[in-house]
C-alpha cells in the first residue's frame, strides 16, 4: 500500500512538470527555436556554480513561503496573506534588530522571534474574522496585504523609521549591527545564507509537528473533517485560528534569509509575490517538506535561468508561463490521480472479501 502511495504521490507533480515542458516546447517551436537547445542552455546556465548559489539563496525564501502555505492547506485554508505577513515580519524584524544591541546569538534570535510575532499577529486578524465572523480568509487577507504594504511604506517615510543612505535611491530601515547578522558559508564558490539551516529546520519541524504530535493530528483532522474532529473533542474553531496564526508566523520568516545575511535592513526593494509563489509551491510539493523543497528549487532555477533565454532570442517571460501551467496541470493532475487512487483502493478492499451486508434502511 505504501509503495503505491509513494508512486502516485510523485506521478502527479512529474506529470505536471512534463506537460508544462511540452506546452513550452510547442510555443518555442512556433517561434522557430529548438526546445532541446533552449533547455540545454537553461540547464547548463542554471547549474553553473555561480548561479546555483543565488538559486539556493532564493530557495530559502521560497521554501519558507511554501511551508507557510502548506500549513494553511492542511486546514483547507488558502493563505493568500503571505505577502503581507512576510513584509510585516521582515520590516519589524529589521526595525527591532537595528534598535537594540545584544550578544550575537540572542540578537539574531530576537529578530527571528519578532518576525514571527509580527507575521503571526497580522495573520491573526484574518483568522479572527474567519472564526468569529465567517469572513472568507481569502478576501480579508487580500485586503490585509495591501494595508500592510501601505503601513510599511508610510513608516519608511524619512522622518519615521526610514533612512536614505548615501548614494542609494531606496529608503531603508536602519542597518542591523554585526551582532544581529547571520554569516554566510562558502559553497560552489559563492556565499550561501546560513539561514538555510533555519529553513530546513522549519521544514523538519513542520513535518514532525504535523505527523507526530497530537496537535498536528488535530490540525489535519480538522482539515479532513470539521465535524469528525469536533466530535472527537477537538476545539475546531480554535484550531482554525491557531493554524492561521502559525502560517502567518512562518510567513514572517520568509524575508529573514536576505535580511540577516545580505541587506541587513528592510527597504521597498524587497520583492513581492510570495503569496502566489508559496501557494503554488505547496500545491506542487503536495504539502510535503521535501516536495516543497524541490519545487522551491525548481522555481528559483527557472527564474535564475530565464535571462539567458534572451540571448537565444526567446523572451524570458516564457518562464512565467511555464510556472503558471505547472500550477494548473498539477491541480488537474491531483484530481485525476486522487480518483484513480481511491478506485484502486476500493477494488483492493473488494477483492479481499465477499460480504453479506444487512442494512436496516
Amino acid at each position: 500500500m505504501k509503495k503505491v502511495r509513494i508512486f502516485w504521490g510523485t506521478v502527479a507533480p512529474l506529470a505536471a512538470v512534463v506537460s508544462s515542458l511540452l506546452l513550452v516546447s510547442v510555443i518555442l517551436i512556433l517561434r522557430g527555436a529548438n526546445p532541446i537547445d533552449i533547455f540545454q542552455v537553461m540547464i547548463s546556465y542554471g547549474f553553473d556554480p555561480r548561479n546555483l548559489v543565488s538559486e539556493l539563496n532564493q530557495t530559502v525564501s521560497y521554501y519558507l513561503a511554501g511551508v507557510a502555505a502548506a500549513i494553511g492547506f492542511k486546514m483547507l485554508l488558502f493563505n493568500i496573506g503571505i505577502d503581507g505577513q512576510y513584509r510585516m515580519g521582515a520590516f519589524f524584524g529589521a526595525v527591532v534588530g537595528a534598535a537594540v544591541s545584544l550578544p550575537p546569538v540572542l540578537h539574531v534570535l530576537l529578530i527571528v522571534i519578532t518576525a514571527m510575532l509580527a507575521g503571526g499577529l497580522w495573520a491573526a486578524i484574518a483568522g479572527y474574522l474567519k472564526v468569529r465572523r465567517g469572513v472568507s480568509e481569502v478576501i480579508s487577507n487580500i485586503m490585509l496585504n495591501f494595508i500592510a504594504a501601505a503601513i510599511i511604506a508610510f513608516l519608511l517615510g524619512e522622518d519615521l523609521l526610514g533612512i536614505l543612505p548615501e548614494g542609494s535611491q531606496n529608503v531603508q530601515t536602519k542597518p542591523i549591527p554585526l551582532s544581529g547578522q547571520m554569516p554566510t558559508f562558502k559553497m560552489f564558490n559563492g556565499e550561501i545564507y546560513s539561514f538555510i539551516f533555519v529553513a530546513i529546520f522549519v521544514g523538519i519541524a513542520y513535518w514532525i509537528m504535523l505527523n507526530k504530535t497530537v496537535f498536528g493530528f488535530n490540525l489535519r483532522a480538522t482539515g479532513l473533517s470539521f465535524r469528525a474532529a469536533r466530535s472527537s473533542g477537538v476545539n475546531a474553531p480554535g484550531m482554525i485560528f491557531i493554524t492561521t496564526v502559525l502560517s502567518g508566523a512562518i510567513a514572517g520568516l520568509v524575508g529573514l534569509g536576505t535580511l540577516l545575511s545580505d541587506t541587513h535592513s528592510y527597504s521597498m526593494a524587497f520583492p513581492s509575490g510570495f503569496a502566489f509563489t508559496g501557494l503554488s509551491l505547496a500545491l506542487l510539493g503536495r504539502n510535503h517538506p521535501v516536495g516543497i523543497f524541490f519545487a522551491a528549487f525548481l522555481w528559483s532555477f527557472l527564474e535564475r535561468a530565464a535571462p539567458v533565454l534572451e540571448y537565444e532570442g526567446v523572451p524570458p517571460e516564457i518562464v512565467i508561463v511555464m510556472q503558471g501551467t505547472i500550477v494548473l496541470s498539477i491541480v488537474i493532475a491531483y484530481e485525476v490521480v486522487a480518483r484513480i487512487n481511491l478506485g484502486q483502493q476500493q477494488r483492493a478492499v473488494g477483492k479481499a472479501n465477499v460480504e453479506l451486508v444487512k442494512e436496516s434502511k
Binding site: 474567519k130 494595508i147 470539521f226 501557494l279 523572451p315 511555464m322 484530481e335
Partner: protein, 416 residues
Amino acid sequence: MATESKLHVKKIGKATLLFKSPARITLMIAGLFFILALVESLTGATDISSPGTSGATLRFAIPLLMAGLGGLWAERAGVINIGLEGMMIVGTWTAAWFGYLHGPLMGFVAAAIFGLASGFFHAILTVKIGIDQAVSGLAINLIAAGGARYLSGVFFPPVGGDRTVSPPVDSFPTFTIPVIAPILESIDAQNIFFISNLAGILHGLTKEVSLVTIALLLLVPLTSWILWRSKFGLRMRFSGENPMAAESLGINVYRIRYIAISVSGMLASLGGAYLALVASSVYREGQTAGRGFIGLATVIFGNWKPGGVFAGSILFGFTDALRVRQSESVMSLIMVAGIVALVLSIFYSINRRWKPGLISGALALLAWWIHQRVDVIPQEFVTVFPNFATLIVLTFLAQRLTPPAMAGMPYRRGSE
C-alpha cells in the same frame, strides 16, 4: 477553500435600513452634497466639487466598476472569482494590441472576446473538473500575468514599444454634451452656494465624455435588469443561493455557472480594456495594480447589488482620484465624513440605538481630532482606503450583509 460549516451563528442579514427606497437615497445624497458645499465654502478648498475631480473620479471608477460587476456576476452564480485580476490583465493586453492594429473599437471587441474565453476557462476548471475556486483563480492570475509579459516581449519591440509598454493606441473620440455642459460651466463659475458645487460636479461628468464610458455605465442598470427581471437572472441568483433547490426544479446549475463565469471574465476584461484605451492609451505592465481584487471588495461593499457595486466603485474611484489632488481636499473630505458621522450619531441616539450612536459619535470625534492635529494625510493611507474600508465593513457589518448563501462552496450535481 471553504470549510464545511458555519462556525458562528449568523443571523439573517438585513441590508442596512438606511437604503430602503430611492426617495431616501436621493435625500441622503442631497444631504451629503449640502454638507460638502458647506465645508467647501468654509475652508475655501473648492477642489472636491471641481469638474476635474469628478471627471477623474469617473475615469478611475469605471475599471473598478467593471471588475466589481465581473465579481458580482460570478458570485451571484455561486463562484468567487479570484482570477479577476488576471482577466483584467488579459483585457489590458488584448485591447492595447488589437487596438493598435485595428483601432480602439476593435481593441474593446478583442478584450471582450478574450475575456469571455478566460472566464470560460475558469468555469471549466471549477465547474467541470471540480478544482477549488481559489486555486483556479490563482492559476489564472499567474498565467495571465506571465502570458502578458511574454507576449509583450514578442510583439511590442518590433513596432515601437518594449516588453513592458505597448506602442501607443489611438484614443476614443470624446465629446462634450452640447448645451448642458456650457450651462453647468457658467453656473459653476458664479459660486452660488450648493448650486454651484453641484453644477461643478455635473460639469465634470458632461465634458469630454467618451461613448465607451456611457456604454459601460449602462451595464449597471442592465445587470440589475437581468438579475431581477429575466428568467436567466432568477435562475442565476438561485444558483448562488440554493443550487440544490434549483436543481430539484430542473435547472441546469452547471450551465448557468458556465455562462455567468464567462461573462464575469468578459466584464473584468472590459475593465482592463478601459484602463488601456480610455484612462490611458497604452498597455503598461502592472497597469491593473490590484484593481481586480478591489473589484471583489466593491462587491462586498455593495452588498452584492449592482447599485451597491456602482456606489462602491465611485467611492473608491474618488479616493483614487484624490491622490493626485491637493491635500486640503483630503482634509475637507475628512471634515465632511466627520459631519456625516455626527448627523448619524444624532439620528441613532434619537432612535435610542445607543451602540451605533456611540460608534458614529466616536468616529465624528476622530475626524475632528485628525482635522486639528494632522496636516497631511499620508499618501499611502489614501491609496489603501478602499481595502481598509472593506475590512471595516467585513468586521462590523458582516452580520448584516446578504451574500449569496452558497457562494464559494463547492457544488456537485446530485448532492443533497
